[in-house]
Structure formats: C-alpha cells, structure tokens
Symmetry: C2
Subunit: 448 residues, 2 copies
C-alpha cells in the first residue's frame, strides 16, 4: 500500500482528465515544463531553492499501483483503454535543476522537466507541492540563520507545522539552510539531523516542586541537561538552580543550559545571566524560544540580549509572514515549438531557459542573466542536468554536504540581501535571445 506522499493519485483531477484527452488524440510528444516563482514576495530579498531531492525520489518511483488503476477504472470518469495505458506509466524524462541551497529570483527556473507530455503533465501537482514548501522554508530558515550567525538554532516547529510532511520537510530544510538541528525525532532518524530537546512545562507541573523536577531530569539525562525555568517565576527558578547545580556537579552532572519560553526574553535573559554569573555558573548557557523568527532574533541580538541559542518553530515552518509563493510549473515547449502563456499578470518566458550568474571581485553575487538554454552569457550557468531517462545521473549528495554548499551560497549573497531591512533589488537581466524568442512565439501564434 502506497503512502499519500508516494501516490500518483496525490494530484489534481484535471491532470488525469487532460491525460485522457491527450490519449484520445494520441498527443504524447516531448514537453518541456519549468518551475519558477513569478514575483519575489515583498518581504524576501532572495529565495533559496529546496525540495529537489524529494522531486527526484518522486520521479524515480512514479507508477500507479494495481489498486490505484482499479480505482481509476471504477470511478466513472475514465474509459478502460486510457486506464490500461497508464499501467506502464513511468517517468522516463530528463531533469535540469539548480542545486538545493542556491539563491534565486523571480522568473528564474529552478527546475526543468523534459519528458513525454503525459509524464511531464501528471507530475505537476506534486512537484509544485514539494518545491514550493521547501523553498519557502529554506528561505525563511536562511533568514534566521543570517540574522544569528553565531547562535545555536534549532527547529522546534513540528507541532504547529501543517501536518506530518510539513513537519518532516521543515526539519530537513531548516537544517539544510544552516540550523544546527531539530526536535523532530523521526526527521533526526531519517536524515541523520542532530536532535535537541529540553523539557515541557508539564514535566515541572507533574512534580510538586520545580527543583525536584530539575533534579529528576538531570539524573535521567546527565549529559543533556537543559532546564526550563519559566513555569512559575523565571528569576526565582534561576536562583534556585545555583545550589542545585553545585549538588549535581558533585554527582558528575553538569547543567548545560536554561531555557526561557515566555515574557520579555531580552529582560529575562539579562537578569538570568546576572544571577547565574553571580552564582559563579558562567558556563550555563541561555536558550530562548517562543514565537521567534528572523525579526525577533535580530531585535534580541541588536539589543545585546545574552542569549546563546534559539528554538525557532511555528513562524519558521509556517513561513507566517509569507505562507506561499506565486510559483508556477509552466509548459514552455511542446513538440519542438516554444510555448508561452499570455494571461493577464501571468505571462511567462517561453522555451528552455538557463540562468547565468556573475560574481564580483570579492566573490559576491553581482547579477544574473536569464536566457535561452543554448545561449552563452558571462558567468556560471545555474541549471544542471541531474536525471536522464528517469534515472539520476549520480547519487544525490548527503544532506550535510547540501548544508555545506548552502553555507557557501549564503556567504556569496550581497550584504544588503542578508538583512531583514529593505534592500535594493538584485539585478536580473533578460537576454536579447530570450526577448527575440518571445517575439517569434507571439508572431507565430498571431499567424495561426
């Protein structure tokens, strides 16, 4: 039995109704689709490509089970010859893409699919579903990372992510974007992401005494002792930790950190730091959580709050200030002819495209050129071929390597783009060759 994540039926009905119409007319020439974002959100200076790995997995495992074929045959919408034609459906095409962790901008394709029409069409819904969400979260998480370059950052967002897969993918993608780890155990187990966790308020409340709760927890986890101190009175708890930490030290247990989860984190962190330092416990770190995002983290760091690490959850993995992207997966070529949509406000650049990126003398990104696939331009081409005939050309890099690549990419962003403050728009030019192609396509379509 396939999971929802794996099922070819996790798609929009119109993909299948279109496929039947293509089947009836025998239309199955080579189609070229590209995924891109139409418009950079107002509160994003760049986007960070992510989700490619799950797209490649989907394409390599793309087939309908007998159970799914039966459902299609019996749902009353499709005729038998069409459903039978789907029995041998596999993805046999080509994939070009920007590596995960590459910054990109409006109108730049991050993925190109070249495949027989029925395959390239049917994968649309899930490709958008995977690329949009992970790009959204990689972008958001990288903004937090850039806001707090020297701090520990941990994904705490599983509980308020939009379902199980969102929780899994946001753990993956925030790690890719530079977080140190996640609280999500299954994501840690699946992708070897370091796990972090402290304790819940319920743990304190289940004990009749806060210090007894700290003591119990420390003995059960002598190597991972972070104490949550805001259940009743934050500063009182910090003061009570001093004799406890001395007692635990005698048992060979080191209290590593305290966690603040409510109130004014700036003020509490200063008072708690002072209490711990006066108690000669300068080694205890302060970890903060609670509705954090890149804006809150920037404010706390600019204010000089003595916080060593942040648990970032809900606002990161719902991307709450930008919960979706104006993204599209569009037909750019069919049967050798470039295609272009001209709907109001949604016109697209036709044909197979490439993006060339230039760098300045310091190695920082200096400008992109959007052009046709075979055009030449200064700089480095960003889309590379990763799959042919439905198979990866090489094994995918390990997530830790993607994270390292991403770190390098973020270090090449122009300085203004790394901040949450308004920034000049990154320059993306459209080449003469692409303008000429638009003109040729429009003239051809007017003649027809």
């Amino acid at each position: 039995m396939k999971t929802a994540e794996e099922s070819v039926l996790l798609t929009d009905l119109y993909q299948l109704t279109m496929l039947q119409a293509y089947f009836d007319k025998g239309m199955n020439d080579t189609a070229v689709f590209e995924f891109f974002v139409r418009k950079l959100p107002d509160n994003r200076h760049f986007l960070l490509a992510a989700g490619l790995e799950q797209v490649l997995d989907t394409l390599e495992n793309f087939s309908l089970s007998p159970h799914e074929l039966d459902w299609l045959a019996n749902c009353g919408r499709f005729h038998r010859p069409f459903v039978d034609s789907l029995a041998d459906l596999r993805f046999t095409g080509e994939v070009w893409a920007m590596p995960e962790g590459t910054p990109f901008f409006a109108d730049e394709p991050i993925l190109r699919i070249v495949a027989p029409l029925r395959e390239a069409q049917l994968v649309e819904t899930r490709i958008i579903n995977l690329l949009q969400y992970q790009t959204l979260i990689a972008t958001k998480a990288s903004r937090v990372r850039l806001a707090a370059p020297g701090h520990l950052l941990v994904d705490f967002g599983l509980r308020r992510a939009h379902g199980a897969e969102a929780g899994m993918l946001s753990a993956r993608t925030s790690f890719l974007a530079g977080f140190e780890g996640t609280s999500n155990v299954l994501a840690g187990a699946r992708w070897n992401i370091p796990l972090y966790g402290t304790m819940a308020h319920s743990f304190i409340q289940a004990h009749t005494d806060e210090i007894a709760a700290f003591d119990d927890f420390s003995h059960s986890h002598p190597n991972a002792t972070t104490l949550l101190i805001d259940t009743y009175d934050t500063e009182a708890a910090a003061r009570a930790i001093i004799p406890l930490a001395r007692k635990l030290a005698a048992d060979g247990i080191t209290v590593q950190a305290v966690r603040l989860d409510s109130g004014d984190l700036d003020q509490h962190s200063r008072r708690v730091r002072k209490i711990l330092d006066e108690g000669v416990l300068p080694g205890i770190r302060i970890f903060a959580s609670g509705n954090l995002d890149e804006y809150a983290v920037t404010r706390l760091i600019n204010a000089g709050a003595p916080i060593d690490g942040f648990g970032v959850g809900t606002r990161m993995n719902t991307s709450d200030d930008c919960p979706y992207l104006e993204c599209a997966y569009k037909l750019q070529e069919y049967a050798g002819g470039a295609r272009r949509k001209r709907s109001e406000g949604k016109a697209s650049w036709p044909g197979r495209k490439q993006v060339f990126r230039r760098y300045d003398a310091d190695g920082l990104m200096a400008g992109d050129m959007l052009t046709t696939e075979n055009d030449e331009a200064a700089g480095e081409p960003l889309l590379e071929c990763l799959m042919r005939e439905g198979r990866r050309l090489a094994p995918s890099p390990a997530l830790a390597d993607v994270r390292e690549y991403t770190r390098g990419q973020l270090a090449r962003l122009p300085l203004a783009l790394r901040s949450v403050e308004p920034a000049p728009r990154y320059p993306v030019e459209v080449s003469a060759a692409l303008h000429a192609l638009v003109k040729a396509v429009d003239q051809r379509d007017q003649r027809s």
Copy 2:
C-alpha cells in the same frame, strides 16, 4: 514499515527524554491534558473544531514498531530498561472532545485526554499537529462558505499546501466545512469527496489552436466539460465558444461551464456572461479561481459579479491571513491534583473543564460558560466522552454526516460572527467554580 503520519517517533525529542525521567522515578499516575487556543486571532470571530477523527485514529494505533524501538535503543540517548518499557506502550486512556464542526472560542478546551502520564505526554506533539492544522483550515473554509452561501465551492489548493498531508487534510476539512468538493484525487478516493476539475493552461498551449483544445477536451469528457478561457484573451475565447458549443450540442455534448483564472474577475465575468447570454448560451456557468479567499469572494458577490462557483486554493489551505493558532495542550491535573501553568501571558485554567452553550429564542448561540467538569450550568455541555480504555465508544460518523452537523452549527452562529466585517466578541464567561479552583491551586502551590 510505518508512514511518517503513523510513527510514534513523529514527536519532539523532549517527550521521550521526559518519559525516561518519569520511568526512572516511577511516575505514571493519571494525567489530564486539554487542548485549547489561548487567544482568538484578530481576524477570526470563531474557530471551528476539526481533526478529532485523525487524533482518534492515532490513539487507537499508538505503538512503537520493533524497528523504532531499535532506533531508540541505539541512538545513544536512552537506557535499555526504559526502551524495553516502551515495547508494550499503547494508548489506554479516555478522550473527551467537542464534535468536529463545533464552533469554539479562546480558552475553551476542544479535547481532553485522561491517561497514564507517559501516554498522555507522548501523544502531545501529534495531537497539536493534527488539531491545529485542521481547525485552522475548517475555520478558514467555513468563512468562505459563509461568504458565498449559494455558490459552488471547490478546494483547489493541493499544489501549494504545505506538503502531502496538508493537501489531504485540507481537502477533508474544507469539505467538512461546507465546500462541495476538491480537485485532490487521492482525498476524493480516500474520503469519498466529490471531485472537480477543469483543464490547465498547458492543455491549451500544447494545442496549436485554443478551440481545437476545447473541442478535444469536450469529446474526451462529454459529461464534464468546463473550458478554461483565459490563456490568451478571455473575451475572444468566450466568443469563440458560441459556435463550438452549438457544434458540440449536435454531438450530444453540453458545455457546462467556463473558467476564469486571471485578471479582474468581476469585469471578465460580466463581459463573458453577456457574450454567452447574447450567444443564447445562458446555461453555461462561470467558474472563477485565482488567489481567492473569503475577502475576495465577499467583494465579488457584493459587486454582483455573475460568477456561479469558486475554486479556492492556496489562501484557504495555507490560511494565509492566520497561518497558525496560539494553541496549547496543557497538563491540567496529575495524580488527582489540579495543575496550572503561570508563565507570563500563558497562564492556564486548571483542572478538567466543560463548556456549556446557551441559545436564544431563534436557536442562535447566545453565550458560553467555561467551568469545571462536574459543575452544572445553563445550556448544553459541548465536550462528550468518545473513547475509553483506548477504544472508540462508537464508530466515528461518516464525513458527510459531520459536514451536515457542521452546516447546522454554522447556521446557529450569531449573524455578526458569520461576516468578514468586525464583530462584537462572543460572550464566554468563566464560572465561579473555576475561579475558586484557580484560587485553591495557587494557594496550595504557594504553601508547598
């Protein structure tokens, strides 16, 4: 092999570290947790409870596989006796809840779990993950439903939902809230939700001629012909449909609707309606999509746009104007004693609670009373017992029945709460009994 959705490891690390500490101390008395929302979002007049069905499924199937137990034993964080103690872990407790589709307000619990501490604690993360998202989407979708009481509403949001499960659950929950159906094939297959779909722009573009595309599609789907007319020039396409529709009628094919997906939907719908009416095709319906939500739908309907149905996607199933809730699952009682968190801005009402709802002479909701479980108050108690000893007391109602119940509930909302305009706050009182319990708990804790 379990799916992510089913895995007990889809949880925060701290649940497991706390469980080991409880194991070490032999703490496993009865715990009572409740799920509630701390604060109604500014742009919501009510919330609609949803997600209970998936919570009950999770609880009835709650166990660790041998593979998961091995992982825990080998991850370096837990000792063997603790991991061994998890082998027979099942959910053996009690569940009280408001039925799905019940409106609720800040501080009102919609779910209560009564179970041995380790069980009640370990289910926290997934319970929040399921209840928050579905409540968010049921609420958003019901706002669209209330804004367009006589229109066809279809969930089109799978592609931009946050992952696979969000796409599945938003199809379920928008149907529950009153939508007529979804484009998500797998959700249709799983929950028997009516499926809707039209065609993509790529279908038009893959043909050299728009009318040829319409003609092909209509012949392949003679009973479900909705034509997408905005790929190039909306009004030109509408005019071209008139002779096509006559020709198709001769073949026994009726064009049922046209779809608009870009530009000014109000203006386009008026022009297209006029063209179709003048072409003596008054039976062709107009269906609109593209960044719609309750605000856009309200504007279009108030303006008198001749639109018969709406495809509502991204903004509904990301709940873009409110992408998360300030929700919590809190320990309210342990080993027979009521508990209460007092963190700044996050204090909670202790003990097992019940909500009584009163209605006015017209049957509309008139006010709620939040009180202790065994208190008496005027009105109808909203939380009912659905599970004991880890098993449902009765089979869950069919989704269609939940939808019907929800329709009845929305019809009992005070009129002001049904609108997107500002509304007076719905009255929720806290009983004298609950105030007395707070006082008793605080006095007890101060003594200890």
